[in-house]
Symmetry: C2
Subunit: 349 residues, 2 copies
């Protein structure tokens, strides 16, 4: 096959870090990829200038990833269809609440031979309940969609600190192609076929991270936090077993599993949310305004979604950690009660 | 069976924290255990007074666990044979280098019906190579020996912060008896039969924790540290597979596995050692003098022992993280090279 055209759909913190990697990789691997990488960027003003213009002249996303130079072959484009029309590989990396709308716009407008990869954390909510983002993309666009997820805090990836990630692809060849696109000496990609679990980990770990933040906020030490992480992992595995047939426990040993869980429980913003839920009496909305300047925390959304799924299956008792985190985020439970919910965990029976 | 007599052999930081738990539990469970708990304490002077005398009058181990009151039914005894002569359950909780000598002294002097449980981290080294401490105890004393290991930093356990632990016992009944002895609302015990792996985790995690400290010292963030923990865990599992037939991967999901690994990589003193190995040019001996006032770090001892085992099996290539940590501790490798050793880890093939 001739060299493939790659398009990045999204340009936030993580999208920009990935743009740096992909932009550099395609330059070095020209037999596989075309050099120019269009990046769809939702147009906004920053300090009185258009953000696309800043990216294309200064080669830096000064709003979402300041201080990191992007390769010049990454070109920010504010028009979605223009950015994506020639793409053989579409990298989806935007907040999960925008995916459906974006895919609806792309439907019928992209190459039918294209493939997609989702770097998005979270679930989509449809009328039938929760849906994996990669399936949503795949269903709307009628193309295969792999996933990439791992212990990858964007700022650290952008500053080239060594880390690992996991690529999930049911098709092995696509998996290897994606590895070629993303792997660098500081960003190691392992490929597995168990796509569902890779994606699931990326959503569920944010719930556990709120729990880690809660025990941090309560002043507990490393033992209690380790118990929260372990019990959280057990609930993640159980949840995958119950709702995603074919999920493999071995996938949890990949970077997308334990590594991402541990990194997020120590460094992510959902952990920070958990800490603040204890230390202040503000509502989630107020905390989002304060900490994320209005963006949404992933964890509480996912916690709410899975609470509904568990309730429907009459399985709330089996997931006391997930349930307590949801109730605490909704201010229906005092964070002080969190640890009590863990004392008689079904894992202990 | 009538109420059992319990003896604690050892009285350091962890021994004293366990004495608090056991002393309180036996008072509440008198149908199972006798109230008086002798604790063997190596006699030393502290501020001009005998430490046993301080413990028995002030009910506090002011040298090794200051600020924590011990139950009055825990009685410090400086004579090993006197402390242990009536014991039905012997709890071994002392630095691993003293175990053999202590067991040799106890041989033939304890009840033949007694059972033991080891809370000791590390390996014993005999002429035939490495030996698990629980086997050493069991072999010398001709009694069964279980183990207890988990994410249990002693100070946090002593201050009653919720945590989990894992009891390993090949005999189920003994496992349940030990659970009855150790479990409290803040110290949750799970029992598994895979004793070897429980014990192995407790030794190997200290090696990985040095690696976590090295990346901390180098200024890397949570992604790299998560990769070190994940690759470390993979090497732990592989090591168990190679050297301990019957080791189960599921045991690594217990508190003794991932939870203890994560807690130790964030809070333990072997992590601190790793950080200092990067930040100073001092030898291990000097760092021990400085940080531990002459006590030994567990991690480097274990790293050295497993290095020898791997070398003999011609398997050094398979364990680049363990090997690099050993070489860095011995000052044969620059810590700056550590991350490079992980880039082409066999887990990535």
């Amino acid at each position: 096959m001739s060299a493939r055209s790659v398009c990045i759909v999204g340009s936030g913190n993580w999208g920009s870090a990935i743009a740096k990697i992909v932009g550099n990789n395609v330059k070095e691997r020209r037999e596989h990829f075309k050099e120019c990488v269009p990046m769809y960027m939702y147009e906004e003003e920053f300090n009185g200038r258009k953000l696309t213009e800043i990216v294309n002249t200064e080669h830096e996303n000064i709003k979402y990833l300041p201080g990191i130079k992007l390769p010049e072959n990454v070109v920010a484009i504010p028009n979605l269809l223009e950015a994506s029309k020639d793409a053989d590989i579409l990298i989806f990396v935007l907040p999960h609440q925008f995916v459906k709308k974006i895919c609806d716009e792309l439907q019928g407008k992209i190459k039918t031979s294209a493939i997609a990869v989702s770097l998005i954390k979270g679930f989509a909510i449809s009328e039938e309940g929760i849906q994996l983002i990669s399936r949503l993309i795949s269903n709307i666009l009628s193309i295969p969609c792999g996933v990439l997820s791992g212990a990858n805090l964007a700022g650290e990836v952008a500053s080239e600190q060594f880390c690992e990630t996991t690529i999930g692809s049911k098709d092995k060849e696509i998996g290897e192609l994606l590895k070629l696109l993303f792997e660098t000496p500081y960003f190691h990609c392992s490929v597995v076929e168990d796509t569902d679990t890779v994606e699931l980990c990326g959503a569920l770990k944010n719930v556990v991270a709120i729990g880690a933040g809660i025990v941090d906020g309560m002043g507990y030490g490393d033992n209690t936090k380790a118990a929260v992480q372990r019990l959280g992992l057990m609930e993640m595995i159980k949840f995958a077993e119950v709702f995603f047939e074919g999920s493999k426990t071995s996938t949890f040993f990949q970077s997308c599993g334990i590594a991402d869980l541990v990194a997020t429980c120590h460094g992510g913003r959902n952990r920070l949310l958990g800490e603040n839920v204890v230390k202040s009496k503000k509502s989630l909305k107020e905390l989002e305004k304060e900490i994320l300047k209005g963006q949404s925390f992933q964890g509480p959304l996912v916690a709410k979604e899975i609470y509904g799924m568990l309730e429907e299956k009459d399985m709330l008792n089996r997931f006391p950690l997930f349930v307590a985190i949801h109730n605490i985020c909704e201010r229906k439970m005092d964070p002080k009660e969190f640890v009590n919910c863990l004392r008689n965990h079904p894992e202990h029976l």
